[in-house]
Symmetry: D2
């Protein structure tokens, strides 16, 4: 079988998660979330966040981002995000289609936004010809594998709050960010001022597990209609909820994320010693960005799945996941070394 | 455990389907559909339809309906549907939100449309103040459990074709319709002139299985972007595709649907003999509509899940599914009889 | 020249209005409404409504309706209107396109809604599969020329208010309604509980004059952005504002509307005596609906502009306007009589 | 009266245009464009373009841009425009709201796009996660007052055509561009490959005059519905059409634009000699961009209307129009000189 460093969603379903699905398959239950699994899963979310949040399970990561943002924005407001943001670059224009709002991007090398980059957008405030800043969206960990510190999030949240904007956090890889800093969800999210987050678990071992979490339940009012109208309401929801229960059971989610991060660090350490390979980003989570000789890209892709990030500079992205093994890393690095040797001859 | 006659999506996952999910959980695979399971599932669809169709797996039934319709309509065109249609009544306005189009409804007692009901909409053609008829959407089997004959579908398709409209078919319960008439998908869909259909399988034993099927591949051009933009592109798609493969394996889908229909017929036969209960619709598929004494509705709901359809007349809807047993029916009827007896005292 | 009974917007511009445009053409002024004409016009609106309202001039009647509604609705809410409403029947789906909301219609013979027709929509409240009632939209005078009494408006407004809905009033012919009942804008609008109205003047002698008026200025917050985003912000706004100033000067608007209404009554009185002609609606404003022998429709249309309302029953609509003369009416009636005589031979 | 260099839409209506409005005010006419003025105006457009085009009069410049673009794009496609483009910067997000499409911007100092800036967008073609390039929108003359040569337009049109994209041209100041290069509409538009243009005349002396022009009538199919649905269909259209007739009569439009351009050149020449003032853009049409000492900006704005373009560098924009006189320029320059002298003391 061909191993994949293309994305953490190339991984299979974690055995514990699969077992939870199987266990849930045991009789009739009311659909659309009015079942005991969903109730239990919601309670676990409250516990993890340390406050009563409002949680809505949805179908896809794009669905989580777009429905969350659409709920808190008006069409004449804008979403401000990094140019690398998934909502800008990888959702086929879904945010604009569904919200009707303009998406403003800020150039960012590591995928992170700073308040100094956000301030210029205040120039438009109050001028009717200009769309008005409405939501700031950050990704944690970023599409470049980097992690915001709680202080950085807090600073952006304060800026948003002071300027009548909301802060959305795309947490498709939230567990990788948490374990990278070794802090809790409370420290990273609850206490920093995030208004709403997309809570992703599919990339961390679920078959399908995405949620929209409102930190302030008041803001969630009416979101049940948004979820349905945005085509994100799963009928047999118990099978999603059961996965989330298993996800949090005995800190499985942190263990799987820790492992994925470790595998990325291991990969980074090993290739750091190869002279023809250059890391192009620090490795903080489960993503490794590296520039490699262009001539080995294609032969390497024949043996492993991965994406070319920047063809001009031969930059590639390698993602690790809960199921990546040390042996996978060793084989992969060996394959690179062999290809380099061959191409040098 | 409380048994459910509320909806066929209250059923669990069929064991064969669950086994297929488990079997698919075996290594890294490229996400978003570029995997061998999805390729195989698509080929099976071609075989079942008897022609090369274009199939796209999506997340939800609402997602299937809305994405399909939005692809074939312009915002200044209308969708014409029965007043009982799921797209009008049960999707929280998702079609209007996503297509921007007006939805025109036609009153229908059995959920079916006829050409004579459609003709008046031609009056608007060419008048710029009026939204223009664009798509006819029919449901098979209807929300009232009734089935269009192939001739009826063909007549509507011809009308659509002659008037530059498209015909969409919401097949959330397509298997129940097929087995009700004991005809093939080719006879019902391929040869009648349907342009695009929502192919539902979740209500027929899948964990999650919905697809958009274009009968004419030309019409599908660009739909991959619509699926992504409408937030319907599942990342770990192999787990959906594997379910569809099992769904069609050894005609499982027809067996499960046949069983569900039989259980509805059994229920109808048994209650027909109860004087205080009156069937309000013929039973053609897996839905039983009946008027029952209002005073037993609540006590019955305490023991079984089901919906009240028309509170004024005490009409209720009972749905059966692949997992409903003869014993379930007998217990349920007995429970009704007991409640009637008690209430008569 | 062919005279028109087709619509009151077939009339020319009233001479006083034209003079106001000419007088405003006298130097540079800041565009988009920051000019003294617009300031003055807004103050007159406050005076006419008897309270401080928020007024926004827009381009078209459809623009007024759609922008107003879109500002007060969420996409998962519905607009409830009469089946004859301009927003449903004559705006090419603009409300659905721009708001993304479902439009629910209620059958109405005279174009008026009643609370008893509205109550059934409350059944959907709180059920996430159903779009939620959000706005009630009434037309004053209706598309059938009928007028709501203040008591009727107040009853609907109270119902809206009690059920967390807003009341929009399409006042494309507001002056005709006011003069029909001989009451003030305060009595009809300010004190009845309308939340927002489309204030039309184009049909009453302006070149172009439509406004959105929020009775509660709080509700108008942010509407300047909606107006711009909905493409309704005119650059040389002083020429619109100057027309509105003249419109209200010395009660011109009431005089022109009174005249139009009188001409309709005159027409109704005269044709009432023709045995082959039957009025199909009471005449309360400037619209006359009548059933006439089908064979004279076309010959009559060759001499006068007017619309056939219901071809099956030979029903036609004749609109009068500020510039319709008694002589026009006499000639028109004579023409009808001549045609009837000819066709009887 | 305070003279304005703020925008060419601060000018009054040209006397010939006003006379045309007055002359059109003479009887009943069918509304919405089915009148002899509109027919005549359309024929003149055909003549000016040298081919049969499809012309639709609309209400606003934003309305022209958005309706035109929405007609030729799919929601999952993108509009590519300069970062300075009116559609991106000055329309409050109207394009995103109405089309649902992403707007991609390219940084541009002079407001012009080049093919080399467009090529990178082809990387997304065929990848379902990325919105697909659909329309290129250029502004002629640009928001910075610069003019594309026909060769430059042709090169972009060819690129669009080769890559299945459409070319939209925002011609809010088309006459200023034509007279700047002293070429014909045929040379600039008809023969270069533009697919659709927004033809603006309001900034060139009309009360209200904007049109959407399809160079290929096939592409216009159905646009009458788009115009209505986008709230851009004026009822008393004859008054718009009459203005356009006068606009083209005896080349009035070119004379007024030539004059406006000359006044800008005169202003540029005069201030060029003031050492503290620096032109920041070449003057090709009726816009002058200059950096002036920040301390005189406010006192100068007390006497004249104009906008600050870049507050950090003291850059201002001065627009001239058909009604700007040599004396206006002289007074304005004198005022600047006086303020500079005062501030130097």
């Amino acid at each position: 079988m061909k191993r994949s460093f293309a994305s953490d969603n190339n991984a299979p379903v974690h055995p514990d998660i699969m077992q939870a699905i199987i266990n849930a398959n045991n009789d009739d239950f009311v659909s659309y979330g009015d079942d005991p699994y969903t109730l239990k899963a919601k309670n676990i979310f409250n516990k993890k966040f340390g406050v009563d949040v409002e949680v809505f399970f949805v179908c896809t990561g794009t669905g989580a981002n777009v429905s969350a943002i659409s709920h808190l924005i008006k069409p004449w407001q804008t979403v401000i995000a990094a140019s690398t943001a998934h909502i800008h670059h990888d959702e086929c224009g879904a945010p604009e289609k569904y919200t009707g709002s303009k998406l403003h991007t800020v150039n960012s090398l590591d995928g992170k936004l700073t308040v100094s980059q956000l301030k210029p957008f205040l120039h438009s405030v109050g001028f009717e010809h200009h769309a008005q800043p409405g939501i700031i969206s950050i990704t944690q960990s970023t599409e470049l594998g980097m992690v915001y510190t709680p202080e950085e999030i807090e600073e952006i949240a304060r800026f948003a709050n002071q300027n009548d904007m909301y802060l959305h956090l795309d947490g498709a890889r939230i567990a990788n960010a948490l374990t990278s800093l070794n802090i809790s969800l409370e420290e990273m999210i609850t206490h920093t001022g995030v208004d709403v987050m997309s809570f992703g678990a599919t990339k961390n071992g679920l078959l399908m597990g995405e949620a929209v979490v409102f930190l302030n339940p008041e803001l969630a009012r009416g979101f049940q209609y948004v979820r349905k109208q945005s085509m994100q309401l799963v009928s047999k929801m118990r099978y999603v909820s059961a996965q989330f229960i298993a996800h949090f059971q005995d800190d499985l989610w942190l263990k799987t994320a820790t492992h994925a991060n470790q595998m990325a660090r291991l990969l980074a350490e090993k290739i750091r010693h190869i002279p023809q390979v250059k890391l192009t980003m620090p490795v903080q989570t489960n993503a490794v960005f590296a520039a490699i000789p262009k001539e080995i890209i294609q032969p390497l892709q024949e043996k492993y799945y991965f994406y070319v990030w920047n063809p001009e500079m031969g930059e590639v992205r390698w993602m690790t996941h809960f199921n990546t093994t040390e042996e996978d890393i060793e084989d992969f690095v060996k394959c690179i070394e062999d290809l380099l040797e061959t191409s040098n001859k």
